[in-house]
């Protein structure tokens, strides 16, 4: 008997798995398989899985979005709305991570971005090869028009993205247009993702900002999703830092005031 035999003997007496556990596990697996492939079985003859469209509530106007969100998700999903901290702003809280509509739409709420790993997992469970990425946020100097009579453009320091994902791995524009659309009758400001328009092997990059001021985001955990991008594959392009404003531009501002 050598050392390997001794190790092999360690815990060799663990109980055999109970048949009830194995049977329950099999049931769980088959239920999960059925749930994941249900769209395909609903359309006999189709080899590819028909995946649901995704509506992402991404309204900058929190009140309008929240109200519409309630309307959209009332029914099968348990939804509760409560008064937010900012006046009439309302926050929609869903009981589940995803809410499956009768039409096969999956609604993703802003608050779900607060847990990007979970959101990504949820979307992948729904057959969407999603990559959810937080865009670094920092104070940026931007020049914006100041709406004060007599004032000119002035540099401001505001929180915002410090980089932008390169477009090196983007799918062609036609794919982008087909896979991501905007608007809707029930929910004015949202993204709608059409996974069936995504080529095989492609991925959906869902960048978002967080930690913004309430005025810059929507009140939902101060999260602001950016437009989803269809990538050719799973390779996430580099987030290229914004270059600092040219000294000449900064120098022009005080000159303009003179």
């Amino acid at each position: 008997m050598n050392d390997l035999d001794l190790i092999a003997g360690l815990r060799a007496d663990v109980a055999e798995p109970p048949s009830a556990s194995l049977a329950a596990g099999r049931s769980r697996l088959t239920a999960a398989i059925t749930a994941e492939t249900k769209p395909a079985t609903a359309r006999p003859g189709r080899m590819s899985l028909k995946r649901p469209a995704i509506a992402i509530c991404a309204a900058a106007a929190a009140a309008a979005t929240a109200a519409a969100g309630v309307a959209l998700t009332s029914g099968p999903a348990a939804v509760q709305a409560h008064q937010g901290t900012a006046g009439n702003a309302r926050t929609v809280v869903t009981a589940a991570w995803t809410v499956r509509e009768a039409g096969g739409t999956v609604t993703i709420y802003l608050r779900q971005y607060a847990n990007p790993a979970r959101l990504q997992q949820t979307l992948r469970a729904d057959g969407i090869n999603a990559i959810v990425r937080r865009v670094p946020v920092g104070m940026r100097t931007v020049t914006v028009p100041v709406r004060v009579p007599g004032s000119e453009k002035a540099p401001l320091r505001i929180p915002g993205a410090t980089c932008r994902y390169a477009t090196t791995n983007d799918a062609p524009p036609a794919v982008q247009r087909a896979a991501v659309t905007f608007g809707g009758q029930d929910l004015p400001a949202r993204f709608i993702i059409h996974p069936h328009a995504m080529p095989p092997g492609s991925a959906l990059l869902l960048p978002f900002l967080t930690g913004l001021r309430a005025s810059a985001a929507s009140g939902h955990g101060r999260i602001k999703p950016q437009r989803p991008v269809v990538l050719n594959n799973d390779t996430v392009p580099a987030c290229v830092p914004f270059t600092k404003p040219a000294p000449s531009a900064a120098a022009r501002a005080p000159t303009a005031k003179q």
Partner: protein, 195 residues
């Protein structure tokens, strides 16, 4: 048409690409072994969930399975290893408990059985201590060979590492284990138990 039971694992996985429910056959074949391996590593408290997670992950990745690999066991053990890896602290804690107290929170107490495989309690404690102190990668290789009975090549496949790395990790793990066991003569011990 081939009868389902006559299909090898690769054929079952291929079939499950267009007949998803066929994947359950893979569960029928290997779930018990995976369950047992997970239980040996982490106890049975979470074995149900971990085995379910393992097979669901396998189902979702089945389109990446290499159909040239007839036996799916290394693939499944590799997925199980990743699931177990998320609970590394728990595993080390359980091993240290055994090392410290002599009572194994994982295995049933069969100390009254005379079995050539079952070593004395003191030796078990030392083994557990040795396993707890191994690097995670070394422990993974050692236990896939000792507990899952995989070959070097299968371990390499399971962990997606070269066979040479399997050998070096195993060698390192065994060297450390032997050092811990230096005070014992395993051969003598086995003879004592069998008499």
């Amino acid at each position: 048409m081939t009868a389902p039971d006559a299909e090898n694992d690769a054929a079952v996985i291929s079939r499950s690409l267009h007949e998803p429910e066929a994947f359950a056959l893979l569960y029928d074949r290997h779930a018990a072994a995976i369950y047992r391996y997970v239980t040996r590593r982490l106890g049975d408290a979470h074995a149900d969930d971990m085995v379910a997670e393992c097979f669901l992950a396998a189902f979702r990745r089945r389109d990446h399975y290499d159909p040239a690999r007839v036996d799916a066991r290394p693939w499944l053990y590799g997925i199980a290893a990743r699931v177990i890896g998320k609970h590394r602290r728990t595993e080390v804690r359980l091993l240290r408990t055994l090392a410290r107290t002599g009572a194994d929170p994982v295995a049933e107490d069969h100390s009254d059985r005379v079995d050539s495989r079952v070593t004395a309690a003191a030796l078990q404690r030392q083994l557990a201590a040795a396993l707890a102190e191994l690097a995670a990668g070394d422990r993974e290789v050692l236990l896939l060979i000792a507990w899952a009975n995989l070959s070097y090549a299968q371990v390499a496949e399971a962990l997606a590492i070269p066979v040479g790395t399997v050998r070096s990790r195993l060698s390192r793990a065994r060297k450390k284990t032997r050092a811990v066991l230096a005070g014992h003569d395993p051969t003598l011990l086995a003879e004592e138990l069998c008499t």
